[in-house]
Amino acid sequence: MPISKDRLGGLLLLAFCIAYAFLSQQIRLLPFQESSAFHARTMPEVLSVLGIGLSLIVIAFPGSKARLELAGHDWLKVGLFLALMSAYGLTIRPLGFIASTSLFLMIGFFMLGERRPLYLIAVAVPLVVLFWVLMTQGLDVFIEPLPTFLRGGN
């Protein structure tokens, strides 16, 4: 059965709220805290009830019957970009700021259709170096520019 956008979103958020409600019961309280009117679980419990209730309202009374259109979207590219961002997070320390960011930008430009190697390098590298200089010299925010194996000292 086709499902409307509102209902699908409601179902996803209902699952999130149920998981939240379950985890709220795992919050550990000290014995004296349990008897007080307000403790670390109070707000999460109220929110769980509200969240589950509102999700059910959205599912039961959807505001629109529009359906999710998956066609005509470049899902693969978005997936690749998400992987690229994650990889950037993993490489920024070992590769250093300049190499990892230049690679991130060049791969990003390439994935979106730029195929000229000179343009890839000429846009990414100077911009990254300039940004690094601005941050370290202008705003006193230091970030390691070089890969681990090129860094001096310990």
């Binding site: 670390a40 979106l112 970030i143």
Partner: protein, 513 residues
């Protein structure tokens, strides 16, 4: 007050802060012009820089970015009929037809003059209203603050429209839920950390804002790439602006519109949840109604009034939305919610005490609004033909850069690579929810108010010996909660009344036939 203005002037007119206003206006215009990136993303992108400055300079920079982004959004609305944000949708109704008829420069100039006037007049109202409201709100207790926060959250959802209200409320609750992640502030108990040490301090608001706005906007643009025709349109629009001169007759036509729309915009902006979008549509509708049949017909075809009204009102509303932020510490919109988050990051608690404890921050924000608007007019207007070229930058270069600035903005604050992975996760969730038409702004508002709301509720219960009776025993708290309840019920009631009216009209017109 005079003393306050002097403090504000001294702070805001320092060379350093003037430079930040200029930089903020330019950066805001630049970012706001990019279709999809609105004031919220623009401010979020600036937070890492603002965090390195002193509080006054940081807030001045963000306020300037805010105005710049609104102006930038209007520019893309006028030139390519692509409003970056909802508040500039009404601008495109008459701005784009004007641009299409070869008067893009004139349309941009009218928008700039109207924005300037709306901003300056509203800042004058703010000057009077903010200290007054701040002195009144000094008598507020934690119970009232709790009720006010409920009102703020409910109002944002209520203005989402009848069909979307439940979704907006649900997103608000999701935001409140995310705010509970981390160590409980009063009892020191870890909550929802899933055993991860990186979550003990909770989720950073900057991370959430960047992931759900800037990052997801860029990902949405990758998901739905533009056609060649759109790109060509953007390139052409950015190159041929025409004359920017405005005639005397047009100024005469604009003047009363600016006066009315400034007042309307400011008042709407002060209301929590209403904001610039509603103000701009209301001002447009009001002017269309009072324009008379002849002038009314020009609306939608390039009317000067139709362009001036929403532009004035959205800027006036942006200024008005600072009233609840500065005086009550309660943001009335997603944008001011981000500003609140930034202020808290500085260790500043906005509210009535801000006016007394940190007058330099309070007044310099107000004074910087004037300066920001002047800078927008004298700096951005002549530069707009050059700034508009940003629309011609190919998206294959622009989108990876937006992703980079979003990721590095968060990383530069925490230097924790876990944050980048968390951003990716939130960005996935945001893209999915956006595809399903679930609004993001209520979630941010809920996230930012969550901690304060819990703290005020806890304090209220403590003061009232663990009794919930404060909800109905204290008149002020009760009044605010009743208003909140009315906000929830009002869309349904007005809908029902309209249905009944329509039915009655059909019946009478049917019997008349």
């Amino acid at each position: 007050m005079l003393e306050g203005i002097m403090i504000g002037l001294t702070t805001a007119l320092s060379i350093q802060n003037l430079l930040f206003v200029m930089m903020g206006c330019l950066a805001g215009t630049f970012i706001g012009m990019l279709p999809g990136l609105g004031p919220m993303s623009a401010i979020a992108l600036m937070i890492p820089i603002a965090a390195t400055l002193d509080p006054s300079a940081g807030i001045i920079l963000m306020a300037a970015v805010y105005y710049g982004a609104i102006f930038g959004g209007s520019t893309s609305s006028i030139l390519i009929n692509a409003p970056g944000v909802a508040s500039t949708v009404a601008t495109s109704f008459d701005g784009y037809p004007m641009a299409k008829s070869g008067k893009a420069g004139k349309a941009l100039a009218i928008a700039a003059y109207s924005s300037f006037s709306g901003g300056v007049i509203a800042a004058l109202f703010l000057l009077v209203a903010a200290p007054f409201l701040a002195s009144v709100s000094l008598s507020f207790q934690s119970t009232d603050y709790f009720a006010l926060m409920v009102l703020g959250l409910v109002a944002v959802a209520a203005f989402a429209g009848k069909g979307d209200m439940a979704k907006a409320l649900l997103m608000t609750v999701i935001g409140l839920m995310l705010s509970t992640v981390g160590t409980d502030q009063t009892q020191g108990v870890p909550r929802f950390t899933l055993g991860m040490i990186d979550l003990v301090d909770g989720i950073s608001f900057l991370l959430l804002v960047m992931a759900t706005f800037a990052l997801s906007e860029a990902l949405m643009a990758i998901l739905k790439p533009k056609g060649d025709a759109d790109r060509l349109k953007e390139k052409e629009a950015s190159e041929n602006l025409g004359s920017m001169a405005v005639s005397k007759d047009e100024v005469k036509e604009m003047a009363p519109v600016i006066g009315r729309s400034s007042i309307l915009g400011f008042l709407i902006g002060v209301l929590p949840g209403a904001g610039a979008t509603i103000a701009s549509f209301l001002a447009y509708g009001t002017e269309q109604r009072i324009a008379g049949p002849e002038k009314g017909k020009q609306f939608g075809k390039g009317s000067v009034r139709g362009l001036s009204a929403p532009e004035t009102a959205n800027n006036a509303a942006a200024t008005g939305s600072f009233v609840p932020l500065l005086t009550l510490g309660i943001p009335g919109s997603g944008t001011t919610a981000i500003m609140l988050g930034a202020l808290i990051g500085y260790g500043i608690q906005p509210g009535p005490r801000l006016y007394i404890d940190q007058p330099e921050v309070f007044w310099s924000v107000i004074v910087s609004m004037w300066i920001g608007n002047i800078v927008l007019l004298i700096l951005n207007l002549p530069l707009i033909p050059y700034i508009a070229r940003v629309l011609a930058i190919p998206s294959r270069f622009l989108l990876p850069l937006i992703l980079f600035f979003s990721l590095i903005g968060v990383y530069f604050v925490s230097f924790n690579t876990f944050d980048i992975q968390l951003m990716v996760l939130f960005a996935i969730a945001a893209v999915v929810l956006r595809m399903l038409d679930f609004p993001m702004a209520p979630m941010i508002l809920g996230f930012i108010l969550g901690g304060m709301m819990e703290e005020n509720l806890r304090r209220a219960l403590l003061i009232n010996n663990d009794s919930w009776s404060f909800l109905w025993e204290r008149p002020l708290t009760l009044t605010i909660l009743i208003i909140a309840a009315l906000c929830l019920v009002a869309p349904f009631l007005t809908g029902k009344i309209r249905e009944m009216k329509d039915r009655a009209y059909e019946r009478t017109s049917g019997s008349g036939d």
